[in-house]
Amino acid sequence: MADLYQKLVMLLGDDLTVLILGIVLTLGFIQFNSLFLIWLERKVAGHMQLRLGPMEVGPHGIIQTIADGIKLVGKQLITPRYVDKWLFMLAPVIVLMPVPLAFLVLPVHPGVVVLDMNVGILLIFGFSTLNVLTILMAGWGSHNKYSLLGAIRAVAQNIAYESPLLVTVITAVLWARSLNMSAIVDAQDKIWFVFTPWGALAFLIFLISATAETNRAPFDLPEAESELVAGFHTEYSGMRFAMFFLAEYTNMFIVSAVGVTLFLGGWRGPILPGFIWFLLKSYVLVFMFLWFRWTFPRVRFDQLLGFAWKVLLPIALVNLVVTGGAIKLIDLIR
């Protein structure tokens, strides 16, 4: 293994080797993560409703998702007659593009990060905005009223919830005094940001906004089944649909991982090695999303927007000011 790595370094140079290895590992992880999360979601849903969930394929249905994936690969890719061909085809391709990028700047282990960028957190949120674009592309290109309505909702919702989300991210950045993800983890060596009062509030707002950003219940209006059939992916079938599914579950993990990095001290933790702590914390946050989904009913659209603009954003802004004041005070005392 080490020998192979040496050869790769000789062949490609240091940076490129790390980048290629990072991307390969990331792509592998994305597949594994989605398979695991879809299974976990179905299991959690089952047990919360006092049933067992998937049990047939493999022990406790563990390879059920692989069977589903094979079915989706085998299905015909139906393109309806009047769709905008380019947008319709490109949307499920582009939806997965920003996803591996976000993994590159996440510090997963002490000293292990594929791209140690100065503006890591900006990169993640810059590219995650592409997600909305692809939803709009899918909705507009589908030539279907349900798809378009779902896409319009997705855009309005993402604009609304990105504001409080970014304000809380700024709060964390202010506390860490850096946009570099590794530096943000380093800044939490004494105390995790979530254990300060303003940090706890920011984390709560981050969690709510992140749920809305990933279009998860109770904020899953872009794909509200009872109103919009399947929302923006109504017309998609087979592997194109699977791409949206894959992106949704990977985005869930990314948002959790970012939350862990910003608020829960990243890979920090006693005894166990760093990357295990990182994964453990991330999956605990992912579990929170699953928990939300199987507990809360879907909100109405005006409630959704009202909650973002009237409750989350003002509180997040006040919290930002308070955090700034607190940092100044702590500096003065020192």
């Binding site: 919360m48 006092l50 067992l52 507990t295 809360f296």
Partner: protein, 156 residues
């Protein structure tokens, strides 16, 4: 002051709403997390099935016993009592004098049975009861016509 008048009267109401909203959401989350760890109520059906409660009302069956498998005397009271007219009892006497009458066939068309239980109540010999049978899927409607005499001989 009633609730409607109190609404929209400023910053206290704003925070009160957030507070009560948050509390009710947490209550909901407590319910689901309890359900997550409590035992499931469903059964993996083809592998293990539920034992039916003794009071379960399946289709009727003849109570086993007697010289020829059941105590039915083929009097036909159940046939007359049945409001849906789904029972047909055919009896025969083996000896012309002094012998007992016994059923040769006891047919019910279960697809039209309403499970009213009048046949069970009216039976003078108490020869009928509700069975615990619930696996009743058939390929045609003729298969759901059950011969209870054959059934009681089979199950013993």
């Amino acid at each position: 002051m009633n609730r409607a008048a109190k609404k929209d009267c400023g910053i206290t109401e704003y925070f009160r709403e957030i507070y009560y909203g948050a509390v009710s959401l947490l209550k909901g989350m407590r319910v689901t997390i309890k359900r997550l760890v409590s035992p499931v109520v469903t059964v993996q059906y083809p592998r293990d099935a539920i034992v039916m409660h003794p009071m379960y009302r399946g289709h009727i069956e003849l109570i086993p016993g007697g010289d020829y498998g059941c105590v039915c005397v083929a009097c036909g009271t159940c046939e007359k009592a049945c409001p849906s007219n789904v029972i047909r009892v055919m009896g025969l006497k083996e000896k012309a004098k002094g012998g007992e009458k016994r059923p040769s066939h006891f047919l019910i068309d279960y697809s039209r049975c309403s499970l009213c239980g009048l046949c069970v109540e009216s039976c003078p010999e108490s020869a009928i009861r509700f069975s615990l049978e619930y696996q009743l899927a058939t390929m045609s409607r003729w298969e759901i016509v059950i011969d209870l005499m054959a059934r009681v001989k089979e199950t013993g």
